[in-house]
């Protein structure tokens, strides 16, 4: 029999419906693989008993003909999502032993669709990082590594590695500055950050609330379309959730892209852009062109300022959001004589270096006297970045760019350790999208000379994930990327 874990979600659903195997058999195949493949450090908590109980219920649904959209599909959940009765830590020491008494809206939607949860996936601490090296549980190893261990990307590194190594059929991720798309590119999988407001943020530990969005990470475009439909939807518990009908994204796959205008932003091709990446970018544009799409050159003039804007706004929001971790109500408590000592000792021991760095930067830019010079200035430039996209979308329907300026690098890379800005620069092609609140998908299109996956990003208009999916599906067919 074929390895069930290599099936896509769409293939597995079809076989489950045809009773070729049961949800329990499928779940057992994943559990076995998960337990035999711990070298990637993708899971920080395995919950096989939970998954098997859910699979048992799914088998009953199939028997009764009441099967739902993701019935019996075993998923991995990023540790940033609160899962009822299952330890959730954001991969931070400060949330040691935290067991949520409630389920996040997105994971509840997945459970309502019949999915089962194999466990919690590794990530950068509080989603702050681009290499999964800031996790309290240690880095994730990229399944594409050969001679030396490479990073899986971040912050959703565990999600990307688990999907690539078939340790789950699909995974949840979150994306504040590229945290779904960059690890997806590094691990040769597909992931989409939907439009801000499409998925509820309720029950997801907040990093930068005006930027955070949840999204699916899966083996291919179709699986992302299936998962996103289940994850999305209005939620009164998130005041930024948008009350809008969720389309059946799968419907658009295979639709003609003839006449579609593909925007190519010149600012995304800086001098010194890796030749292999710019080559694949050109090739991807040609593939779409040969299907009748039209290539349009566009400008996003404020692109160079996106990273500095991001590294003011995200730490500012983070410093405010992370103020709640005080050692009083949940998680770690380190004793102190006075109340302030307790706060200081708990937070100093509980947070890692990168998280503390960002909290302090955020505290500084929000402090009296500097608020206008940094925070308000950043919010103004943020508007200009958003307007760049609005103007560009008058000339095109979807934008094509590389996802990352590099492929996966080695764990402990010296230049990244030496200067935090070097790590921040990896987000150069992804952060603008979060600042503008737009949807964007990354899909693998080829390998570089080191044999490592490279991803392309498709950026759409707000709430127009359908054009992204349609275009991505066409590109996926032509690129014919071979999965791990």
């Amino acid at each position: 029999m074929t390895d069930l874990t290599e099936l896509t979600i769409a293939e597995a659903l079809k076989s489950l419906k045809n009773k070729e195997f049961s949800a329990t058999e499928l779940t057992n195949a994943y559990i076995q693989k998960m337990e035999n493949t711990r070298e990637y450090n993708a899971y920080v908590l395995e919950t096989p008993e939970v998954a098997l109980e859910q699979a048992r219920l799914s088998d009953e649904h199939y028997k009764n003909g009441t099967n739902r959209a993701l019935e019996g599909i075993p998923l991995g959940i990023k540790d940033l999502f609160c899962t009822k009765g299952i330890r959730s830590t954001a991969c931070s020491h400060i949330l040691d032993g935290f067991v949520p008494q409630y389920e996040s809206t997105v994971t509840q939607h997945l459970l309502n669709a019949g999915a089962s949860f194999l466990g919690k996936l590794n990530m950068d601490e509080f989603a702050m990082g681009g290499s999964n090296e800031t996790s309290y549980y240690g880095p994730v190893v990229n399944p594409w590594s050969s001679s030396e261990p490479l990073v899986a990307g971040g912050s959703s590194g565990g999600s990307a590695a688990a999907v690539a190594a078939h340790l789950c059929a699909g995974a949840t991720g979150t994306d504040t500055g590229g945290s779904i798309r960059q690890p997806a590119a590094f691990c040769g999988i597909t992931g989409i950050k939907p439009t801000y407001g499409r998925c509820s943020r309720w029950g997801i530990m907040a990093f930068a609330s005006s930027l955070d969005q949840a999204g699916p990470m899966a083996k291919d475009v179709r699986d992302c379309a299936i998962m996103l439909r289940a994850m999305a939807g209005y939620d009164a518990k998130d005041s930024t959730s948008v009350d809008m009908k969720v389309p059946d994204f799968e419907q658009v796959l295979g639709q003609d892209i003839k006449g579609l205008k593909i925007g190519i932003p010149s600012e995304y091709r800086p001098d010194g852009l890796n030749k292999e990446i710019s080559g694949l970018w050109d090739k991807s544009a040609q593939m779409l062109q040969s299907r009748g799409a039209e290539i349009v050159h566009i400008n996003l003039p404020h692109t160079p300022y996106a990273l500095p804007v991001y590294y003011i706004i995200a730490p500012a929001e983070a410093s405010s959001n992370l103020a709640r971790y005080d050692g009083i109500r949940y998680g770690l408590r380190v004793k102190g004589e006075k109340l302030d000592d307790l706060y200081i000792n708990t937070r100093t021991e509980g947070f890692g270096t990168e998280v503390k760095r960002r909290i302090m930067i955020g505290t500084y830019v929000l402090s009296a006297g500097y608020f206008d010079a940094y925070y308000v200035k950043a919010q103004k430039v943020r508007r200009l970045i958003k307007q760049d996209f609005e103007k560009a979308f008058e000339k095109c329907d979807v934008i094509l760019t590389p996802t990352s300026p590099v492929s996966a690098f080695k764990i402990g890379d010296e230049s990244m350790q030496e200067n935090p800005i070097n790590m921040y620069l990896n987000d150069v092609f992804t952060v603008s999208v979060n600042l503008a609140g737009l949807p964007a998908l990354s899909l693998p299109v080829g390998l570089d000379s080191k044999g490592l996956p490279l991803g392309m990003q498709l950026i759409g208009k707000a709430f127009d994930e359908e054009t992204i999916f349609k275009t991505a599906y066409a590109l996926e067919k032509d690129a014919a990327f071979k999965r791990k």
């Binding site: 005006s210 006075k338 302090m360 505290t363 430039v381």
Partner: protein
């Protein structure tokens, strides 16, 4: 706007974090590197540009001012590192 060692210590206290004396100098340098880098925003003319607070032009929804999730004391206290008499317990604050 370069920060000095004192500012680093002050910001750390505002954030209720402690920077070891031996790490203050290094933290200050990192801080200044990041601040110098973000200051390139000063090149951008933002005259008459409204700060962007939210990407979606929606007004915040209102609801009735009712207590809607009360009676969850047990659940709320479940993760408390220390609790007494049904309350979160903290070190003595009043002398």
């Amino acid at each position: 706007m370069a920060v000095d060692n004192n500012t680093v210590k002050q910001v750390a206290f505002l954030a209720r974090l402690k920077v070891e004396d031996s790490k203050v100098e290094q933290t200050k340098d990192e801080f200044n590197k990041i601040l110098n880098w973000v200051e390139q925003l000063n090149e951008v003319n933002t005259e008459n540009v409204e700060p962007l607070v939210s990407v979606n032009d929606t007004t915040l929804p209102l609801r009735e001012d009712d207590v809607t999730d009360g009676n969850l004391k047990t659940e709320i206290l479940k993760n408390a590192p220390m609790q007494e008499f049904g309350y979160f317990a903290v070190p003595k604050v009043v002398e």
